[in-house]
Amino acid sequence: MAESSLQILIKRVSGWFVPIINIERLAYLLHRLTGLYLAIYLPLHIISTHNSLNPIAWAQEMILYGSPLVKIGEVILIFAIFFHGFNGIRLLLVEYFNVCLPKKMPSSLYIEKRLSLDNCQKTLLYLTFVLSIILTILGTLYLLGLLVLW
């Protein structure tokens, strides 16, 4: 029975979300979602900053920025930037600079720890989540004016 294109698309996109078996897969999903969010935000930001050249348009922008929906969007933006950034650094380190990759494969046949998922790479993953959450909280506090720096 033939599936419609939309059904196929939904099935393929749902493959990103289930099953979440391990934390790396969660990081992959979040990296993808934050990337999409940022890629949509970027053109809007460019248009918005262009309006900074016209005081009237800018005042209208500021009114828009005040709305609660935009504020929530900004908080999500902060998380998106930090998570995508830190996870990106982790991926750069492993895939491009080859940190945590064995220079010599171990000689034992019975491998208890999977080198791609344990020890070194897991530490980087936990660091990513921890740093993202901490900096998101700090950023949100700054955004809400609750954190005055100096």
Binding site: N22, E24, R25, Y28, S107, Y110, R114, L115, L117
Partner: protein, 260 residues
């Protein structure tokens, strides 16, 4: 007596309820999602079967076939985790049925055919495409002098360290569990998949092989190694701990650096 099972069992972390030494057998429910090729869709069959502490999910399914429903089709062979035939989705995770303890999964076990493969009947799936992709990366020794290779007078020698470089990835049994777990395989049917890419690395890293550049050309595209975004699910489910994600990372390293 320790309850720990021997080291060859999959390392997936599942909650294991306390299994008392007194539990001889238990009645569990199997919810089997079966594909009906005549109707062209899935249907659910629910069975109640009695399992002992030591029975695997495959044992439970074969009990169902023998005593309750002769029409249930299951692919299996060695029933000891080395042939790779019985991979299926057990409680949403791709696993080998013969290596999964049934009683530790709880009262109800949900069994489905392996994800990301076209179904044939009931619980078994069509593996042709996976093996076609496998062949496309030339998983054999490539030597510049082919004539010499087939009329060789002596063995190709290898030091132990040279074997270590690829030994882990040669333990792959081609069961397809990693392909079922991978999110990119789910969304892109042309993606080669973790098993294929790991095998491309296994043969390229073999010191006896002289065809690494050929394989690198084959996988250097968005359907090859660059389709992998490191979700790591393949290594998480591999029943032999063969770590395909590591092989892909090493393959990516070789390609980006331009050498083996």
């Amino acid at each position: 007596m320790s309850e720990k099972t021997s080291g060859a069992v999959s390392k997936l972390q599942l909650s294991t309820p306390e299994i008392s030494l007194k539990t001889v057998s238990k009645l569990i429910t199997l919810k089997v999602k079966r594909y009906d090729p005549d109707a062209g869709r899935y249907k659910l069959s629910i069975y109640r079967v009695s399992v002992s502490r030591f029975d695997t999910v495959l044992d439970a399914l074969l009990k169902v076939v023998r005593d309750q429903d002769h029409t249930l089709s299951v692919r299996y062979s060695c029933r000891m985790g080395i042939c790779g035939s019985c991979a299926m989705m057990i409680n949403g995770v791709p696993r080998l049925a013969c290596m999964t303890n049934a009683i530790s999964l709880g009262e109800v076990i949900e069994i489905e055919p392996l994800k990301n493969f076209p179904p044939v009947k009931d619980l078994f799936v069509d593996m042709d495409q996976m093996f076609r992709k496998h062949r496309s990366v030339k998983p054999w020794l490539i030597r510049r002098d082919e004539e010499e290779q087939f009329t060789a007078k002596k063995e190709y020698l290898q030091k132990p360290e040279e074997v270590d470089a690829y030994r882990l990835f040669s333990t792959c049994i081609k069961c397809g569990a990693c392909m079922a777990a991978c999110p990119t395989v789910a969304s892109n049917p042309d993606f080669l998949g973790p098993m294929v890419l790991a095998q491309a690395y296994r043969w390229s890293a073999d010191s006896r092989d002289e065809g690494a550049h050929i394989r690198f050309d084959i996988v250097d595209n968005p359907n090859g190694v660059f389709g992998c975004h490191f979700a790591g699910a393949c290594s998480a489910v591999c029943p032999k701990n063969s770590d395909p994600a590591l092989a892909i990372q090493l393959l990516r390293k070789s390609i980006l650096r331009g050498k083996r």
